[in-house]
């Protein structure tokens, strides 16, 4: 079984649009939406949830006010400024480290697990899907990504799927790292803008750091030919394969509005054909049978 992560660095370059089309094209794959704080893949794939799991990713300190002697030691020792002057825990700042509970002389502080989100296993008409939703404002998205990937892997093994397609989140921090470690390849979706180029360069370094094979897709390549050439040259110089160039077409937004993957909504369009070509190249580069 192979694992492919779709990522981008910069947001809004088309990760989910590409992932959804790949999910349609793959005959024998499991998809995982690892953008757990702003997941959108379900909008296009319409999963039916078959299993829900609570995600307990972090702990929260609680102060028992009847025991508390207001000595202030907890507030002094908290490195996250999570205890207010009137000795209340600020749940947004608390990282559940337990230092307050450790230093409290009268055992007035306990750590409790908090439900930070939910993980789901679902069925779609294209196959199984693992996804999740982090509660708004929660932390520890990296741990939830790991849980989603684990669910996807178990599903893939059970279903004898030969590919797991992972939709990543923007950026290069903890949830992104959790979505690329140990995968067979990372497909970076970029766009020919100054921001796109800047962020591509950093994501390529991230994949290099974790020894993940990179592929690059230039989305909306025809909005700036000069920048597209810069990306192609840059990839050439660094031995990175540009595996697809997708043209700009308003039909991509139209498909999204109709909540359908492009290759299904407009299967005869040029943009769909380019995505299919890219899919074939990706599968053959990964040497998996999921055509």
């Amino acid at each position: 079984m192979k694992q492919l992560t779709i990522l981008s660095g910069k947001g809004g370059t088309g990760k989910t649009t590409i992932t959804a089309s790949f999910a349609v094209l793959a005959r024998n794959a499991v998809v995982a939406d690892c953008d757990v704080d702003a997941p959108d893949l379900h909008i296009l794939l319409h999963p039916k949830i078959v299993k829900t799991q609570e995600f307990r990713g972090s702990k929260l300190a609680t102060i028992n006010e009847t025991k508390c002697t207001k000595c202030d030691l907890c507030r002094e020792k908290c490195n996250f400024n999570a205890i207010t002057e009137n000795l209340q825990i600020d749940p947004i700042s608390c990282e559940g480290c337990g230092v307050c509970s450790l230093v409290c002389q009268v055992s007035a502080i306990t750590l409790t697990e908090r439900v930070s989100g939910h993980a789901y296993i679902s069925e779609t008409k294209y196959g199984f899907m693992a996804h999740a939703l982090l509660n708004p404002g929660e932390s520890n998205s990296g741990k939830l990504v790991t849980l989603v990937r684990q669910n996807a892997k178990v599903l893939a093994e059970k279903e004898h799927a030969d590919l797991v397609i992972i939709d990543g989140s923007p950026g290069i921090g903890c949830p992104v790292i959790a979505s690329v470690t140990g995968v067979d390849a990372g497909l970076i979706v970029t766009e020919p803008t100054m921001s796109g180029i800047h962020d591509l360069e950093r994501v390529l370094r991230l994949l290099g750091h974790f020894n993940v094979r990179p592929f690059v897709c230039i989305n909306m390549h025809d909005i700036n030919d000069e920048n597209t050439k810069r990306i192609v040259d840059f990839c050439g110089e660094n031995g990175v394969e540009v595996i697809g160039k997708i043209p700009f077409n308003p039909i991509a937004t139209e498909a999204m509005v109709n909540e359908k993957p492009i290759v299904e909504y407009a299967s005869e369009s040029r943009i769909a054909k380019k995505i299919i070509e890219m899919w074939k190249r990706t599968v053959s580069a990964l040497k998996c049978g999921s055509q």
Partner: protein, 278 residues
Amino acid sequence: MIVSVASGKGGTGKTSVAVNMALSIGNVQLLDCDVEESNAHLFLNPKISQTQAVTVSVPIVNEKLCDRCGECAGFCQYNALFIGSDKVLVFPDLCHSCGGCALVCPKEAISEDQHKIGTLKLGSAGGLELVYGELEVGEPMAVPVIKEVKRRIEKGKNVILDSPPGTSCPVIQTVKDSDFCILVTEPTPFGLHDLKIMIQVLESMRIPFGVVINRAGVGDNRVYEYCEEKGIPILLEIPYERRIAELYSRGIPFSQEMPEWKIKLQALFTTVRKFVNK
């Protein structure tokens, strides 16, 4: 006044709104809090006056004092310490710098070491003051770098914070303590879905907000209907225009080339100020 610019969904135009608004008003300080992929500087070509390492405290174990009792690893909530067969291994990437391991160690064998996770840069472009951070590639935790960027806030200025995408801890850290948050969205199902999550975050943090619709004209009406139903003010619409997209792709702030937008963005800031002073 501190105004943050956030979105939930990535690529909706946060940086465009933040940069162009900053360029349209006076006495301004722009802080790019998207330390994973900072982009504001690409549009401003700032003159950098100061560069500084951002470090976090991580434990260092004195092997002469350590008897590998395991108290530190047992206490650590983040699995940043591991008791090996001949010494304690520290994983700085997992450490949250709470300091608990040093407190719990009975032999006082643990002290603090500094681990570099990013760089802070200060500069200026014209009359605009820019502060931004860059997380080292491979480092997972953006929040300490964002905190460092925000430590540079000058209260007397018109402070604009450009937020990273998403709705989790880096976003919370950015929008925290802002007087108002501008949510930039696009009129698509993805834009609407992530806008709704972001609104829940801001409501729970009691931060007032309004919406800017970027790429108006593409997609559908559901964002408008949602805002109307919930009584959320739509502060500005930026239409999908080839010229704006093209200037963006070249790294040129569109308000520089299209002066009519300078006036609209000034008006946006004035509207925000009215909401804050209400």
